[in-house]
């Protein structure tokens, strides 16, 4: 009986070790996650900037709207898909960010405070205030499950018009708040397209959100999120503070929604309760489900889908030359009916959404490629 632990330890490297944080095998294989994500972000950013240089003003606004929605959908999909907390109140969180942005910008403008830093400061305020709102909702949410959580967040989503009318002195009721629009800096030249500048700002916000979330998802915290989603009891046994993880997930998700809301408000330089109806919260959920729940790539698809939902109806009625009455009925409703059906079909038949489909196709292509290589190699 002289066997000591040192004799046993190197014999069988457990497969679990590779999954543990800080396990050398995993780190060597993957390289630095942060650097890889940073490289992808810089590449995508450069590509989009080059593309925006070729686009017309309206198309640039579309790019900007996709980027604004991407901030929201990315945070939302992490909460719903990775942490299993179904929030129907993200439209209200977006509104919180948008109104904070407007109020901050107005206050700065009235005091004649100007400078490049006012925009990031206002957006930061939007993020901070919305994160605080997310903390309040999240504290309640951590005690609620399934349909109860969905019901409470749905009640939150109905709140926007009510709050703006009750505190009409601050939020100016139905009219909403206008604030000074962003203008391109003089260094870019006098004739620089303003929409392009807006698209760049929105792009920066979206890339920052995606970069932070991509790292978060692959971190220890990201694994905790999934563990809590899959089995709360097992997660607690493994030493994960379940409630704290859920609250934190809500705060992170709300912060993203606040940033998205702030950028969204910036694009039109105005906020009004009509922009954040109950439907918006449902649309956000629809977008991340069709895009692919829990996948950041799916959030990109979702953001594109949301902009398409806003812009398709106009296109359709324009090109089909329908009678005025019919066009008015189809406007908005046709696209919504189609997307709603797609949502149901995705949920029933293809829970991976678009991102899952793309992954499956890519895997099949790679497998086919590998097979072909394997059959050819003996000939050479």
């Amino acid at each position: 009986m002289t066997s000591t632990p040192t004799e046993i330890a190197p014999a069988a490297p457990s497969p679990l070790r590779r999954l543990l944080p800080g396990a050398p095998a995993g780190r060597e294989a993957r390289g630095s996650t942060l650097l890889r994500h940073l490289a992808v972000a810089v590449f995508v950013g450069t590509l989009v900037v080059l593309v925006t240089n070729q686009l017309a003003p309206y198309q640039n606004l579309q790019v900007a709207r996709v980027c604004a929605f991407l901030c929201v959908t990315a945070g939302h999909t992490v909460l719903v898909g990775l942490n299993g907390q179904l929030s129907l109140g993200h439209g209200a969180l977006m509104a919180t960010g948008a109104y904070t942005m407007a109020l901050t910008q107005q206050a700065l403008d009235e005091r004649a405070v100007r400078g490049w830093w006012t925009l990031p400061a206002s957006l930061l305020a939007a993020v901070a205030v919305t994160a605080l709102g997310g903390l309040v909702v999240g504290l309640a949410a951590a005690r609620l499950r399934g349909p109860y959580l969905a019901g409470v967040t749905l009640a939150v989503a109905t709140l926007v018009p009510a709050v703006t009318t009750i505190f009409t002195g601050v939020f100016n009721g139905e009219q909403g708040l206008p604030f000074p629009a962003q203008t391109p800096p003089a260094a870019l030249g006098a004739y620089f397209q303003p929409e392009r500048w807006l698209a760049w700002i929105a792009l920066a916000a979206a890339l920052l959100t995606m970069l932070l979330l991509a790292n978060l998802v692959r971190s220890r915290f990201g694994r905790s999120l999934r563990a809590v989603r899959d089995d709360e009891v097992a997660a607690r046994l493994a030493g994960i503070p379940v409630a704290r993880t859920q609250v934190l997930a809500f705060v992170v998700s709300a912060a993203c929604a606040g940033l998205g809301g702030g950028v969204y408000a910036m694009l039109t330089a105005t906020v009004a309760p009509g922009k954040f109806p109950l439907d918006l919260s449902l649309f956000l959920l629809m977008a991340i489900v069709i895009g692919g729940l829990g996948s950041l790539a799916g959030a990109v698809w979702g953001a594109v889908l949301l902009v398409a939902l806003q812009d398709l109806p106009g296109l359709l009625t324009e090109h089909l030359s329908l009678s005025a009455g019919l066009a008015q009925r189809l406007e908005g409703n046709l696209a919504l009916a189609v997307f709603g059906l797609v949502l149901i079909v995705v949920m029933l038949a293809a829970p991976g959404g678009i991102a899952g489909g793309v992954r499956a196709v890519r895997a099949r292509l790679l497998a086919a490629l590998r097979r072909r290589r394997a059959t050819r190699s003996p000939d050479r």
Partner: protein, 292 residues
């Protein structure tokens, strides 16, 4: 004081509708452990059918019957075609499918009937009768209260006094054992959904004339209020749904009467959170086994 009595009667009348609607939610929850987030949209769709029949035939009662029948059919269809297949994916999937159904129904209604508010006349006088100098209930309020309470009584009879009711309760309580004993659990589930949607259709017909009229979003806030009522009473308890509905109706009536109509959503949220954080099972919940 006069205002207080008026608000009390008004609250009871709207509370009766919330009670009927909450009852529909409770019926499905008991049968299938799903909160039907599409209940509001389904009720609006059947109300559109009902009022189409009303304007075609001129008879409110034919319209009411058509609405309830289409509600029964819609409920059965939704269960057979959608929820049955969403079930295995967990409650999150069922909620999302129901929300998808909301979007589809609202879009379809907008396409078929247009986006404007349509008038929805009430079958009785909506002016309040005065009793002893106090404005009390209107004939329409009495009809709403009476029909909602009748439905509650009928459902109670169905569940406690008939073989079908017994089978439905057994199928919900212990599906495996019921199946072994020869109960067709799937059919009971369909029946539960149909009944719930029928009750929802009745509630829709009752509530629409009191609002701005028929519109695809007419029930959005009503659904949230009814959900609150169901939670206040406890999602498992039909009696709780009725009491919760009346209670929420009263509270909201006082809040809107004394603080203004814009405060309603805020009051709903506060009420919902208060109940969920203090007594998550609702006022009528039985002692529950500890969740491991």
């Amino acid at each position: 004081m006069e205002r207080f009595w008026f608000l009390t009667f008004d609250g009871l009348a709207s509370g009766a509708v919330y009670a009927a609607f909450a009852l529909a939610l409770v019926l499905i929850w008991r049968a299938a452990r799903v909160v039907n987030f599409a209940q509001g949209a389904m009720a609006v769709a059947t109300a559109y059918v009902g009022y189409a029949v009303v304007s075609a035939t001129g008879s409110y009662w034919l319209g009411l019957a058509a609405a309830i029948l289409s509600g029964l059919a819609l409920g059965a269809l939704v269960e057979r075609l959608l929820m049955r297949f969403a079930g295995p994916g967990g409650p999150l999937n069922q909620v999302i499918v129901a929300l998808g159904l909301v979007l589809v129904i609202q879009a379809m209604l907008g396409m078929v009937f247009g986006n404007d508010y349509r008038p929805a006349p009430a079958p009785f006088d909506t002016d309040a009768l005065t009793i002893g100098g106090v404005a009390a209930l209107s004939p329409y309020d009495l009809w709403v209260l009476g029909s909602a309470l009748t439905v509650v009584a009928l459902l109670a009879l169905l569940f406690t006094r008939t073989p079908v009711g017994l089978r439905m309760r057994a199928a919900a309580f212990a599906p495996e054992v019921s199946r072994l004993l020869g109960v067709s659990v799937g059919r009971m589930l369909t029946l539960g959904w149909a009944l719930a949607a029928g009750v929802g259709a009745l509630a829709g017909m009752l509530v629409v004339p009191t609002g701005l009229g028929l519109h695809s979003h007419a029930m959005d806030l009503v659904f949230v209020v009814a959900f609150t009522a169901a939670v206040v009473g406890g999602l498992d308890s039909p009696v709780g749904a009725v009491v919760g509905g009346l209670l929420v109706g009263l509270i909201l009536s006082y809040v809107t009467g004394y603080l203004g109509p814009d405060t309603t959503p805020l009051a709903v949220l506060v009420l919902l959170l208060a109940v969920l954080l203090v007594r998550p099972g609702g006022l009528f919940s039985a002692a529950r086994a500890r969740h491991v």
